[in-house]
Amino acid sequence: MSTRNTLIKVLAVSTAFGLATGCTPKTQLLTPGAVDQPVTMGLSGSDFAQAASDAVQSMLTSGAVDRSDGKKNIMVVSTVLNDTMQRIDTDQLVKKIRVDLLRSGKVLTTTAIGLNGAEDRMTQAYGELSQSRKVDRSTLVRQRLAAPNMSLSGKIIQRNNRVDGNQQLVEYYFQLTLTDLANGLAIWEGETPIRKLGSAKGTSW
């Protein structure tokens, strides 16, 4: 009797295990830009790429980052506010813009100056190396930090609206401004709206 019970238990456990593993969705590596990309109600990487691409294309075609003296613009990243219901790192947007502006050859971004201190604190630490006896001073270079001439700031906004009993419209607005630090005037402004319609049961945070 006990052998039979044990056999039944083993069979039940192995069946349950088999079902559980069989029903587990397979982990897939998504190819960037593939047709069958999953669409989420929240913000995904492709939304940030879309907003960043729109911003850079608009900046380049507007002539806002053109200089007639052959020099490059030095940009500092100011505040990009996250006014959405999601916990997102706005660097997902800003980094894409920085990378593309750098590639364009028009804009360099300073990592030594920022509202919350230097992004790369090594610049300041390097300045203190001259005080150290351990460092061969002949290998030190004199620091002259480049001051920025433009600032990038912005905000990401989210609005949720119930369309009917079953659906909700989630709207995101990526608002960005490029300010000329010499006079405080906005020399470029852009807004990319991204709208998603989906089930009201789903959450976007």
Partner: protein, 138 residues
Amino acid sequence: MQIRNGVLAAAALALLGCQTQPQPPTDYPQLQIGPRAQSYLQIEAVQEGYASSDLLRAGVRLYNRSNQQQTLRYRFSWFDANGFELKGLASRWEQHPLRPAEPVMIDRVAPSPKAVRYRIQLFDPRTAPTHSTQGIDG
């Protein structure tokens, strides 16, 4: 023997006629249009110029000649003087809805001043990825 050769030649021609590989339209060698998109796309012009003084800018003006709304999937690829592809946000696969007969202009600025050549791929999202380079992003 002659009949068999004739049948073989006809079969080969039929197969060639049925091929679904994307073909560049002869008027616009920079364009690569997928077989399904080719059935409803009407290309009006391909334009190029410069933005921000030294960045290559390219665009295509087109419309949907079918009676139904379509979705166009497109990508701009940029190449340097040595033929190497330049990566950037301007090389992403993107989509655009096409309402019947509505003229649409799609244009992009090259990611770098090194870009000297470009290619514009126009596909229908329903085209099987095996027939194109769809899915490979910049």
